[in-house]
């Protein structure tokens, strides 16, 4: 393997020189920690804010692997016991899967100096919360009035401009549950959603893959969709005509958590990393443009653009129990495929 690697390296340097690109490999500091991170804006935010802060405070290099939550779980399951990263970043659905499959190391919140700054219960033996997500309706204010309720989405003028996504994502799942509730369903009964969607299916502007939604919205294919405040903030910051609306029944809140991977190579550095992430200054910087991550540290004064004045108000937001949702999700996805397929 060795001669081969040397050959490869030599080749790379040659290619780098030839293509004129900067060959940048991190210089090794005292230590490092490898964290999974959501691709795109989270990746940018952590690279811009958290990595320098961690370097300053503890002389630890932050390495990041851009992976969606579902991909992290799949990778950890496939490479059982030998994760390629030390820290997971997850939404509630994949978090429950990770707990059930024993993918996390037991977490000791007392090792985080900043744990006391989090609202009660946000750091436990599974991991720590690092951001909140607030889900509601995103719409184009130049083309539509503000929708007021989830049921509005299935009425004109919204329905013919509506872009739907299915149960693949956390925000999609909780939004559909809320729509179902608005039509008489519950957290575990999304039947009314299917009944209602059948009636309006021909009018709906489209059902998209979650990854394509920002592009479709930007080009005017859809003008209203369910989404979170962070996406709205990011897109608006990039000149997209989009506003966030909280439905009458309340915006939905859920937490993004970080967990120690079982078999993590650098657990001690991981605690320092997580403590840095939830520190006041870092959380405040992550909340500001262009990142728009909803903070979880009580000391952070909330930005006026957020749909709440304090973190405690979030307890009034709609919350969901993912240990009940997860077992139903497979059948919902199957049902969704069958109902909407042409």
């Amino acid at each position: 393997m060795a001669p081969h690697s040397i050959g490869r390296r030599a080749f790379t340097i040659g290619a780098a020189a030839a293509s004129g690109l900067a060959l940048t490999r991190p210089a090794w500091a005292k230590g490092s920690v490898t964290s999974a991170i959501y691709p795109g804006s989270w990746d940018e935010a952590y690279r811009g804010i958290v990595a320098p802060a961690l370097k300053r405070a503890h002389d630890i290099d932050l390495e990041m692997q851009p992976l969606f939550a579902v991909d992290q779980i799949a990778k950890a399951k496939a490479a059982r016991g030998a994760p390629t990263f030390d820290v997971f970043v997850l939404d509630p659905g994949p978090r429950v899967t990770g707990i059930n499959d024993g993918l996390f190391e037991t977490f000791d919140p007392t090792k985080l100096g900043n744990a006391g700054k989090l609202p009660a219960g946000l750091a436990d033996d599974k991991g720590t919360t690092v951001a909140a997500q607030v889900v509601g309706i995103g719409y184009n204010p130049k083309k539509l009035p503000a929708p007021r309720a989830w049921t509005d989405l299935f009425k004109e003028p919204f329905v013919s401009r509506l872009g739907l996504t299915g149960f693949q994502t956390t925000f999609g799942t909780v939004s559909i549950i809320e729509i179902a509730k608005a039509f008489g369903g519950s957290e575990t009964n999304v039947e009314p959603f299917f009944t209602e969607i059948k009636k309006v299916l021909p009018q709906i502007a489209g059902i998209g893959a979650p990854a394509g939604m920002p592009g479709l919205f930007q080009q005017g294919q859809f003008d209203v969709m369910y989404t979170n405040t962070q996406t709205v903030g990011t897109l608006r910051g990039r000149g997209v005509d989009i506003e966030f609306a909280s439905p009458e029944s309340g915006a939905i809140a859920f937490f993004t958590t970080m967990h120690l991977a079982k078999g993590a190579a650098e657990p001690a550095n991981a605690y320092k990393y997580l403590d840095t992430v939830i520190g006041k200054d870092v959380q405040e910087a992550l909340m500001k443009a262009p990142y728009f991550l909803v903070p979880v540290n009580r000391d952070v004064p909330l930005d006026p653009s957020l749909p709440m004045k304090s973190l405690d108000e979030m307890s009034k937001f709609v919350r969901h129990d993912w240990s009940k949702i997860n077992p139903l999700r497979a059948s919902w996805i199957e049902r969704f495929n069958k109902e909407v397929a042409k």
């Binding site: 690109l21 940048t24 691709p39 990778k75 496939a78 390629t84 990854a211």
Partner: protein, 273 residues
Amino acid sequence: MSRRHSPSDMSYTLVIGVLASLALVILVGPVLVVLLTSFTDNRSLKFPPTGLSLQWYAELFDATRSRQIHRAALNSLEVAAWSTGLATLFGTMAALALARSEARWARMLDTLFMSPMILPGLAFGLAALMYFTFLGFRPSLNLIMVGHAIVIVPLVLRTTSASLSQLDAALLESSASLGASWFYTLRRVTLPIIAPGIFAGAFLAFMASIDNVPVSLFLSGPRSDMLPIRLWGMMESTLDVRVAAVSGVFITTVICLMLLMERVVGLTKRIRD
């Protein structure tokens, strides 16, 4: 050249002309959209652009602001070069044996060697990760390279086999009967004839590796960030225009390479003549 303009020949010219023009429009249209968008002065991917600027290219070439993209691009180029090299070598050798063989085992192998292209990348990526973990390997650039080589080998095999089946058996026999060794015949007769096929396959393979998302996703470890995965994140969450600018760079690079090859090849031709 044509002696007459029969209605039939005119209909040929018309039909072929219209369809070929349609092909050109379909091929070029989306690329034009991407190129135009890459020169936008807008803050995100939007078509049509409100104004033109080079800001996104400047940002793409900025060593600090686009460091991660550069790193990922280097990884992707490295992996593509090695996996294409391996796939071309092994694929061409196999094609030499399989393309002209009527044996049942050869036909079966030929079909089998196509399967990595058909097995969805996601399923292969996940299963390969399980397999390599089982063998005790950690995800790394080397693993991605091996994974890519397997996935792109069908491209080389198909195009090379197609070229080989054109080879006139009589030509090979006459070369052999004139006393040429197998290797000599390969070098002087076979390879020159199938070179366009090998080259086409290698190019398809290289670009398929550069653009592969699922295999890279599962076989990547720390510090083995790959270009399309990074672009995917940028496009998905922030509609970053650099995603389009990358295509502009690729297109420019290929134009330069083609012009360069033209000069080199043209030069060697002149020397030889």
